[in-house]
């Protein structure tokens, strides 16, 4: 069914890749990426995300499984015959070619006439605001400019899918934030499928429509950013994506569970779940004297550490039994709503904010 409907869609079925020495880089992955989606593969280094990307690009051949791109089976098709272009982590710009020649390289290799090549190259350079550098060599460009050239060199070919292998990791924080927004805009504007690989959870949260969290060659959770952040299905996902408080739980009568903090009221009786997680920003913090003692899950303790982060402050609170709870409070309140180490506080953990995790 090679129709236009699935142009830019990718289906992976049972994809595995085993390297020499029996190292399983990618382990039986099934994944469907929708056309026009900004999809992020997120995971620590060595989790297999780059190997997976390289198999979609065609640089690696899977040991088993099927790769379907735009409705066509592709796992044995070499990279130069795939309507897929890559933005490399190191940019991989040709040092002997200038900016315009680098960008026009793919069009030239496909035998596109000089006039059209120039038209399309000029157009993409204007779009990415690099037209002033057209005749410079890559060595004469800054990191951010090189990044734009690498992106332009992929986009100019109007591929069905753009693969981005940690393209922003070499840039400083401010430039990275700028380019994140620009990448998103570019992707929405051109409507191409973007598959973005990163180990930076912040980057993944900012840019993606959906993310897949990977660990040891497997997909742990796939879904819209909000779902994965708010409803992590494993301790690894909860810890990798943002900050979290995680406690083992055992069943207790009614809608309660026992934790190292004490008895915790939850929304429904627990089933097989053995772990409770709550995000620090979902914990309410009060002056000890102002604790709403009529409500469930109020825990009293002492501030041990207050990390001021501008918009918010992160508190490490030690409860009376010695356990540590992380709480995050936005700094939009008056000055009296901030606490110093040593101050007595009360924490409220609302039952609806507690996430229960299997195992």
């Amino acid at each position: 069914m090679p129709g236009t409907t699935d142009r830019g869609g990718i289906t992976l079925e049972g994809i595995s890749r085993v390297f020499g020495g029996g190292i399983v880089a990618v382990d039986q992955i099934d994944l469907a990426i929708r056309p026009g989606e900004f999809f992020t593969l997120l995971g620590p280094s060595g989790c297999g995300k780059t190997t997976l990307l390289r198999m979609i690009a065609g640089f690696e051949t899977p040991d088993s499984g099927r790769i379907v791109i735009s409705g066509r089976e592709m796992q044995t098709v070499p990279p130069h015959r795939r309507a897929v272009n890559t933005v490399f982590q190191s940019y991989a710009l040709f040092p002997h070619l200038n900016v315009a020649e680098n960008i026009g390289f793919g069009l030239r290799m496909r035998g596109i006439a000089r006039a059209e090549r120039k038209f399309r190259t000029d157009q993409i350079m204007a779009l990415l605001q690099i037209d002033d550098f057209a005749t410079r060599n890559p060595a004469q460009l800054s990191g951010g400019q090189r990044q734009r050239v690498a992106l332009a060199r992929a986009l100019v070919n109007e591929p069905e899918v753009v693969l981005l292998d940690e393209p922003l990791s070499a840039l400083d924080a401010k430039l990275r934030a700028e380019l994140q927004v620009e990448l998103m805009r570019m992707q929405k504007r051109l409507g191409m499928t973007f598959i973005f690989v990163t180990h930076d959870q912040q980057e993944a949260l900012v840019m993606s429509d959906r993310i897949a969290v990977m660990e040891r060659g497997r997909l742990l959770q796939v879904g819209p950013v909000l779902d994965v952040y708010e409803q992590p299905r494993s301790v690894f996902v909860a810890e990798f994506l943002g900050l979290s408080n995680i406690w083992p739980i055992t069943p207790a009568p009614g809608n309660t569970a026992d934790t190292p903090l004490g008895r915790l009221t939850i929304v429904t009786p627990i089933g097989n779940e053995r772990t409770a997680m709550i995000r620090p920003e979902k914990i309410w913090i009060y002056n000890d004297t102002a604790a709403p003692l009529d409500r469930p899950n109020i825990f009293r303790g002492t501030v041990r550490e207050a990390i001021y982060m501008g918009a918010s402050t992160q508190y490490r609170v030690e409860l009376h039994d010695g356990s540590i709870v992380l709480a995050l409070d936005t700094n939009n309140q008056a000055a009296e709503r901030s606490w110093q180490p040593g101050e007595a506080v009360a924490l409220e953990i609302k039952p609806e904010n507690i996430i229960l995790i299997d195992g």
Partner: protein, 311 residues
């Protein structure tokens, strides 16, 4: 600040002492090399240049009066009038050098990329196999080729049977044998710089090329070859210059029919002595080679790849 420390007199002496110390350091570090170059390069070249302006004595030795005759002779003029012999010799030598460079390039590329494709631990050993023969004497190696290519050799028999050469003749002597000898002797000098370039090849550029629809020869020329140019240029210089003036190979494998400039110079000192003519030829060759290097450098600068090469 007191008036004393700021006085121009004291400042002057401090500066002078500093300058003297710097000059001393310079002489200690650069001095020995400089002395070496003066004694073994500049001085002999100057003596040769001087000999080139003498007349021939009875034994071919330099003799007064001073004359420009040897240099006129280099340009082809003799008592018998002008002859193109010298120009032919120079062009023939140049051709031999260029074809040696081309043949070593064609042989070195597959060898180098074969070595680079091997595990890192194995590469130095394989490279050693390429370099090892050059540790033995060039004359010995060239003699071995005389045996291999001589009239009675298996290779010659094969060539006779296939009709490439008449019966009872060998593949040696001749231009063919000479080319084999030069290519064989100078191959390591092409392999080593090319290997250095190939080993640090940025393979992500090759992946970028494949990603951007290049394959096969297009991929080689666009993503691999440009990265090897610095090594290639070094290799060309290391092969072409000595091959241009080579004496051993043309003498042993070339036979008398096709004179090379190295043999021509040698015969002026050994066979029918004519030192001033030999000296003039040598100086000419030196200037010619330097001129060639300058042209080569300008060309490679224009290619934008002179960085990292040894010119």
């Amino acid at each position: 600040m007191s008036a004393l420390t700021g006085s121009p007199f004291l400042q002057g002496t401090a500066e002078r002492a500093e300058r003297a110390a710097r000059a001393l350091r310079l002489w200690i570090t650069a001095g020995p090399g400089l002395v070496w170059i003066v004694i073994f390069l500049i001085l002999p070249s100057a003596i040769l240049l001087a000999i080139g302006f003498f007349s021939i004595g009875n034994y071919g030795n330099p003799h007064l009066p001073l004359t420009l005759e040897p240099f006129r002779e280099v340009a082809g003029y003799s008592i018998l009038g002008w002859s193109p012999d010298n120009i032919e010799t120079i062009l023939r030598s140049l051709l031999q050098a260029i074809s040696a460079a081309i043949l070593t390039i064609l042989l070195a590329y597959p060898v180098v990329f074969f070595i680079v494709a091997q595990p890192v631990a194995l590469r130095p050993l394989l490279l050693l196999f390429v370099i090892l023969p050059s540790w033995t004497n060039q004359v010995v190696r060239t003699y071995a080729w005389m045996e291999l290519l001589g009239p009675g050799s298996a290779l010659s028999h094969l060539a006779q049977t296939l009709g490439f050469i008449p019966p009872h003749l060998g593949l040696m002597p001749g231009v063919f044998a000479m080319q084999i000898g030069l290519t064989y002797n100078y191959l390591p000098y092409m392999v080593v710089p090319l290997y250095a370039a190939a080993e640090k090849l940025d393979w992500t550029l090759v992946e970028a090329g494949r990603d951007l629809y290049a394959s096969g020869t297009k991929l080689f020329w666009s993503a691999v070859f440009p990265q090897t140019i610095p090594g290639l240029l070094s290799g060309i210089i290391l092969v072409a210059i000595p091959a241009f003036g080579d004496y051993v190979v043309p003498t042993l494998l070339g036979g008398g029919k096709s004179m090379m400039i190295g043999s021509l110079i040698a015969s002026q000192f050994l066979d029918t002595p004519n030192w001033p003519y030999g000296a003039a030829l040598t100086i000419f060759m030196l200037v010619f080679t330097c001129g060639g290097l300058i042209v080569f450098r300008v060309m490679s600068k224009r290619l934008g790849t002179s960085e990292g090469s040894m010119i």
